[in-house]
Subunit: 218 residues, 2 copies
DNA sequence: TTTATTTTTTAGGCTTGTCTAAATTTTAAG
DNA sequence: CTTAAAATTTAGACAAGCCTAAAAAATAAA
């Protein structure tokens, strides 16, 4: 059995490997966990002892098969709870992350199986992230960062990379959500800022925004 | 903010005061928490420092207003989650306690308010225990232990005192549940065992059973 | 009321997960 | 290739919550 802290570290390492490739540095982990490098080292050693990460001093860490499976299961729980909060309890998509951070650690396989069924076996969470199935399989989704699109290309918003309340609220004010159709009207070479069109309205966004929106291109 | 351990101690003290009157001994708390008296003393001192219990060395502890309010809120959450598990996820009444023990510690007032609404503001949990309202008010319910009834008296089962899976499963095999009509056919003075009738069927129960079933007498 | 027993508290230790400060290793720069 | 900087690990401490063993207080018994 794994402690709360261990589970959170595993999840962090999973996300880091996903975003930046295999083999994660101590500093990256410490950063993600909002703690000190020395604390991260301690935990890394503990997780290595438990065979959920492979690790050589000074060389970074990566999840073992077992570690990955634990991490994915936590992510599955997190995303299912988010669906529950939005679909059943009428929370907004920017309100659910913190609560799901707590709910993801509830231990009961039966609970998650029943929750999944109750929710109608959803494929995506409210931010467009895929929900791993009970075997840990994550359906590969082809999606592209808006920042990668060129002038005149368009797509449907299928997810957000960042899911902080602030960013999501920003999107709400612009009426951008999962399913929105987005077209690049103009793109500035210098700073990668863009003018985009979302259902008749055009507006200006910075690189920071376009780098956090996933589209499925048409 | 209170830790998991602190919350569990507060809940334990609340139940003990409820069952055996105000002023709870260190040993009683240690027993309930399945820990050592010395550990209980440590925590009692910590809770006294935080002003959630009043305590004098060697004299036992009792909840302050603040402590009681925290304890009742945890119990409210526990019971609401139990309703969710049974009503929405189709768990049996003997399966929900352990999971609710975890869910009761999720921190979000908004969550509980919405859950309450989603469940239709239920008054009782699946074991017949009243659900405190958001102000901590618990509707006083008149209920009597089956063991207190005399020959020929009858009532409707409105709750169970003990709610272990084993006891609940025993009741299931006898088709006894919340709402069952129960009549005392015979009562043995010597060991308080009884013959009772539940919907046409008569059978024999020991004192251990009758002391854990609450009835509303007719 | 004096002694024996039970209850409760204190003292000292252990583990988890964190920290700061210092040492070590790796990487980058000249 | 040698030094400077950055990254990482080690050493030593601390709070929370638990433990065992021993001391102290309260209660019961003779």
């Amino acid at each position: 059995m794994f402690t709360l802290a261990e589970e959170n570290y595993l999840k962090a390492i999973f996300h880091l490997e996903n975003d930046y490739g295999t083999g994660v540095s101590t500093n990256a982990i410490a950063d993600k966990m909002d703690t000190r490098a020395s604390s991260a080292t301690d935990m890394i050693q503990k997780l290595a002892d438990k065979k959920v990460i492979s690790y050589q001093k000074y060389k970074g860490a990566s999840l073992t098969k077992k570690g990955k499976s634990i991490a994915v299961n936590i992510i599955r729980k997190h995303r299912l709870w988010e669906v529950f909060l939005v679909e059943k309890l009428d929370f907004q998509w920017d309100e659910v992350h913190e609560i799901a951070e707590q709910l993801e650690h509830i231990k009961s396989d039966e609970l998650i199986q029943r929750l999944d069924l109750f929710l109608g076996n959803p494929d995506f969470d409210p931010h467009g992230d895929p929900i791993p199935d009970k075997n840990g399989y994550i359906k590969p989704t082809e999606k592209k960062l808006l920042s990668k699109l060129k002038k005149n290309q368009q797509g449907i918003c299928v997810g957000v990379k960042e899911s902080s309340a602030k960013f999501l609220q920003y999107l709400d004010t612009r009426k951008i959500g999962i399913g929105s159709s987005i077209k690049v009207i103009d793109k500035e070479d210098f700073d990668q800022s863009m003018t985009i069109q979302v259902s008749n309205k055009q507006f200006f966004i910075t690189k920071q925004i376009s780098e956090n929106l996933y589209l499925k291109t048409i």
